[in-house]
Amino acid sequence: MTDRKKALFGGVLGDNIVLSGLMVISPVIICGDTLKNAEALIYAFSAITFLSVLISSFVPKKLPYTAKVIIYALISALVYIPVKLAAREFYPESIERIGIYYPLLAVNSLIVFQTEAKFFRMKKGDMIVSLLSCIIGFDIVMLLTGFLRELFAYGTINSRIVDVNTLIGGLSQPFGGFIFLGLMCGVYRFIRGLVSRNSNNDVRSDADVSDK
């Protein structure tokens, strides 16, 4: 039961797609410098990913891997169109702010690769729960990143000025995003290591190349 719970809900914290799987990190690094950008990205990512994976789950499994990957990418490229039209209607400034990262969300590795590797091996119901938990995991990271970077880089929260003593301008830049995300991943792993029962901290990296 615990393993099943991990598989279903792990995407939120235990096996977060950004902090643990290092997927979809480009928008987090480049666009995650304000809360408004984070909200726009959350909307786009959640809508595109959920709909794309759901529709892709009806693609016949017997097709060759290459054909399936192309079809998944085409489906998400088609789903992107109405999502962008809706964004143009309700969040018009967000499209210009996020720029090329809007369409790039449609080819994120969660849709293109993780569908085959993880989601489509589950039952439909479990797949939806697991997918939602992965999306929520991304949303949490995006919100946290947008909030903290905006606070310390600009001294604002959702464009409202807050009294912050010293601002770190570099946090708003891409390199600030890299360093911030790296620190966040490290802290996340540290906390996860403290919380988890086994002492193994390994995630995706081929860690432990010993020096001589």
Partner: protein, 190 residues
């Protein structure tokens, strides 16, 4: 002397260091010399040929249906993906099993798609770039930029995955911070 300034400009426009595109892929590329050559080489092929196809799409696509750009780019990359697999199977069958992995990883990738969109946005701002030569050279430049960034990461790969690095930061977190500091130095030269 101006070669140095050109190199700085190349670094400043680097996909990974300034736009964080293809960061996950570069972690794979930096793992070993074989991965580096395979991944970086295939990405360069995708960005160069993809850029040429993107030019034709941008030439024909009307502004009123600009939202279909992603769909057409996806079709082009999909076709290139299949063509490359077929070409490797036909002409380099001995290495098909090895090269196949790199082609799978490189096809629908932020680095490749991001290059096409970046070139498109640059061409819309700078009319002189809107020609086949401009697109192809920009695509090749992006591929070379990926190779340079992969080399930068490969130089530190062993140290970043060393047992001396605290377990929480070993591997990807340390790589992100490392790339961030290099990116910071490049940014400060602008």
């Amino acid at each position: 002397m101006f070669l140095i300034n050109d190199l700085i400009a190349l670094l400043a426009a680097n996909l990974i260091l300034s736009q964080a595109l293809g960061t996950s892929t570069i972690f794979i590329a930096a793992g070993s010399r074989k991965n580096l050559i395979g991944t970086a080489g295939v990405i360069t092929v995708f960005t160069t040929i993809g850029a040429a196809a993107a030019y034709l799409i941008d030439l024909l696509l009307q502004p009123s249906v600009a939202d279909l750009r992603l769909l057409f780019y996806t079709i082009v990359i999909g076709a290139l993906y299949v063509a490359l697999l077929a070409a490797v199977y036909r002409f380099a069958n001995r290495w098909f099993e090895e090269l196949r992995r790199y082609i799978h990883v490189s096809a629908f990738n932020c680095a490749v798609m991001g290059t096409l969109f970046t070139i498109n946005s640059r061409a819309s701002m700078d009319g002189t770039m809107f020609n086949l030569g401009g697109y192809v050279s920009a695509g090749l430049e992006a591929g070379i930029g990926f190779i340079i960034a992969a080399l930068i990461l490969t130089a530190a790969y062993r140290k970043l995955n060393s047992s001396k690095v605290p377990a929480s930061f070993r591997g990807f977190p340390a790589m992100l911070v490392y790339l961030g500091i290099i990116s910071m130095a490049v940014y400060s030269l602008k």
